[in-house]
């Protein structure tokens, strides 16, 4: 069966680990070196879900920004899902993710939206309090992830795929 392709845009402040999450998910690799993304990098992976048709996620890894500019708006067009990414060690990156959520809602009112709070391997340095995420969970699916260790990475993409195919 041919997998249905869905455009998934990854947005979040710079340095939160969007590219690393894609590398971990698609290529099972991780690099310690930070290399800023210019424009967009597109990758894809098929996700098999039990009892459902296979789903192909076309991942748009968009350059990090704390707000949506005209260029990012261009990239978001046609997306079925948004993965907001924040860095648990930088609380302001969570604020940026929520800001991006507000901005993108008007552009993509029907998109499935999930939040990944990345760098769980550095949980000892997290500024984001557990209570804050507990509160956010009331309105938004939230996953703690670590692109470095792989913790929670499959789960967050599987969650999106499930939402896209249900």
């Amino acid at each position: 069966m041919t997998a249905t392709a869905h455009k998934l845009c990854m947005i979040g402040d710079f340095g939160v680990g969007k590219t690393s999450l894609v590398s971990r998910f698609v290529h099972s690799t991780f690099s310690e070196k930070y290399l800023t993304t210019i424009g967009v990098k597109v990758d894809s992976k098929e996700v098999a879900l039990a009892g459902r048709a296979p789903c192909k996620l076309v991942l748009w890894d968009i350059a990090g920004k704390s707000h949506l500019d005209a260029l990012n708006m261009t990239y978001l067009r046609g997306a079925s899902a948004l993965l907001l990414v924040a860095d648990g060690t930088r609380e302001r990156s969570l604020h940026a993710a929520l800001n991006l959520l507000m901005q993108s809602r008007t552009l993509l009112p029907d998109a499935a939206i999930v939040l990944a709070v990345n760098k769980l391997d550095l949980v000892e340095q997290w500024e984001v309090a557990p209570a804050a995420l507990n509160e956010l969970r009331r309105t938004l699916p939230v996953h703690e992830t670590s692109a470095r260790s792989g913790e929670g990475v499959e789960a967050v993409f599987a969650d999106i795929a499930t939402r896209l195919t249900s």
């Binding site: 392709a5 869905h6 455009k7 710079f14 340095g15 930070y34 290399l35 800023t36 993304t37 210019i38 424009g39 967009v40 990098k41 597109v42 894809s44 076309v58 350059a63 990090g64 260029l71 261009t74 990239y75 067009r77 046609g78 997306a79 079925s80 930088r90 302001r92 769980l120 391997d121 949980v123 000892e124 340095q125 997290w126 309090a129 557990p130 209570a131 804050a132 995420l133 507990n134 969970r137 939230v142 703690e144 260790s149 913790e151």
Partner: protein, 527 residues
């Protein structure tokens, strides 16, 4: 000035521009029908990572780039990083039943932007890290301050311990003195017996002074003195001093005199224990450091003030040691002396507590003279300390989930917790701990921080970020304030370190189990 457009550019310049543009953007044009069937390819396909011989193979990738976008409208997707690492601007140009995809090289522009952006981002990250580091430094400072106050607490605890111990000395010593008097009276003229009893009295007297001094020292300098002023029978006090020191002085062949002058009709009111101790300490020193000659004490009650003069013809105190005479545990004042070196420092402290003055003169080889003036105190009821009531908890039937990947430690914890009355369940990894805790809601979760895979702290964080309200105790081999702080920040209520201090462990478990799920407040407690 004439406008510059294609029509007005000289042919040679136009040609130059075309070549330049072509060279820089290296265009690739692909023509598709409405069903994404490739009709035509023009340009360097390999430059964009497409197979030059079979560019159709990369069509799917191109197709993915236009998912969700209407193909009958022009589309412009700038700076797309391609599979071969190159960057391209992608344009979709509809033309009736067909459409074109035009790819223009954006490598140079991407690289230029990347350098700028990378610098900017790294600078911003460094600045955030700097702000955080400053915050951490502030935290370290306040931690140091906390430790300082903990040290002060420990100091106070030590003083309390000394006070308790020395207090315990006093009762038996009092009894020893009483029986000594009795024994001396009955010993008659038996010289060996008298000598033995003198030796016992001398040493008991020294012990008594030491115990009294320790008691006072243990009260601590920072503690506000609890004075207990009562009317003092100065005549009785003088008799006691005479009875206590005359035998010691005479034994050394010293002349000993204690004189009392009462020139004031008002009743003398002082904290009697302190007054007695001032006199005992000064006389004890005088007798101890005088080899020949005399020791005299003159006590004068006059004009609402008690004057005390203790004079001896002893070894004296060198000028170099005068400043250190009142420093605790300083024995430099009397060379070769025995004793704890507390006596004079305590005299000074007590005189100050009683709002009096203390002065002394001394000359090496000729003796010393100490002068104390104490104003009459006002009577006041003694204060009472509150008794702390230790809480007791009943753990029978409480449930606990233990997460530790070291089976030996897990068994030990299971046994200890079983003895405490807990129903224990053990898991070996953090992921299971999260699942079991959410499902089973144990009264307490005891989790090792250094678990392989997902760390204990990450598991605690995940639980708390899902609203888990149960009590969590983390166990770690890292005994640092930072590690403890990190665990509590992740959501633990208590932080214990290995090797286990069993008493503390039991205490923490009792505390955790006593609040359990009923406690909505998750402010971490000190453990």
């Amino acid at each position: 000035m004439t406008a510059l457009d294609f029509g007005s550019v000289p042919e040679r310049v136009e040609l130059y521009l075309r070549e330049l543009f072509w060279q820089r953007v290296n265009p690739l044009l692909l023509c598709f029908d409405a069903g994404w069937e490739l009709r035509d390819v023009r340009g360097d396909a390999a430059h964009y990572g497409l197979d030059g011989n079979d560019p159709g193979q990369g069509v799917q990738t191109l197709r993915d780039l236009f998912i969700g976008l209407p193909l009958h409208e022009p589309q412009d997707v700038p700076f797309v990083e391609l599979a071969n690492g190159r960057s391209a601007h992608l344009h979709l140009i509809p033309d009736g039943d067909i459409f074109y995809v035009l790819m223009l090289d954006a490598d140079t522009e991407r690289d230029r932007r990347r350098v700028q952006q990378q610098l900017g981002h790294e600078e911003a990250l460094a600045s955030q890290a700097k702000t955080k580091a400053i915050g951490q430094l502030k935290q370290i400072r306040s931690e140091l301050e906390r430790q300082h106050s903990r040290l002060e607490e420990a100091h106070a605890l030590k003083n309390a311990l000394i006070a308790t111990l020395s207090h315990e000395f006093r009762t038996p010593l009092t009894s020893i003195f009483g029986y000594l008097q009795l024994a001396e009276r009955r010993a008659g003229d038996e010289p060996a017996m008298r000598e033995a009893l003198h030796a016992v009295r001398r040493n008991a007297s020294y012990l008594f002074t030491l115990a009294e001094n320790l008691l006072e020292y243990g009260r601590g300098e920072s503690t506000a003195p609890l004075l207990n002023p009562t009317p003092v029978d100065l005549e009785s006090l003088t008799r006691d001093l005479d009875a206590m020191f005359r035998p010691l002085a005479e034994e050394k062949g010293l002349e000993f005199r204690v004189a009392l002058k009462l020139d004031e009709v008002a009743e003398p009111v002082f904290d009697e224990i302190r007054l007695r101790q001032i006199l005992v300490n000064l006389l004890s020193n005088a007798v101890r450091y005088t080899r020949r000659g005399e020791v005299t004490a003159e006590i004068v009650w006059r004009a609402q003030t008690l004057g005390i003069d203790i004079t001896d013809t002893g070894i004296g105190i060198a000028a170099a040691h005068r400043d250190g005479v009142f420093v605790p545990f300083n024995r430099g004042g009397h060379a070769g002396s025995k004793g704890a070196g507390l006596g004079l420092s305590i005299v000074k402290r007590m005189v100050e507590q009683m709002h009096g003055t203390l002065a002394f003169d001394s000359e090496v080889g000729r003796g010393s003279s100490f002068r104390v003036m104490l104003p009459r105190a006002r009577e006041r009821p003694a204060a009472h300390a509150d008794d702390a009531i230790a809480p007791r908890f009943w753990l029978q039937g409480r449930s606990i989930l233990v997460a530790d990947d070291d089976s030996d430690v897990a068994h030990l914890l299971e046994a200890l917790l079983g003895d405490l009355g807990f129903r224990v369940r053990v898991v070996a990894d953090a992921q299971s701990a999260v699942l079991e805790a959410m499902a089973g809601r144990p009264d307490v979760l005891l989790i090792d921080v250094e678990l392989s895979g997902l760390s204990g702290n990450a598991a605690v964080y995940k639980l708390r970020s899902r609203g888990y309200k149960g009590r969590i105790v983390t166990l770690s081999a890292t005994a640092t304030a930072e590690a403890r702080e990190a665990a509590l920040r992740a959501g633990a209520d208590h932080y214990l370190t290995k090797p286990l201090n069993v008493e503390q462990f039991v205490h923490v478990m009792q505390q955790a189990a006593s609040t359990g799920w009923s406690g909505e407040n998750h402010e971490p407690d000190d453990a």
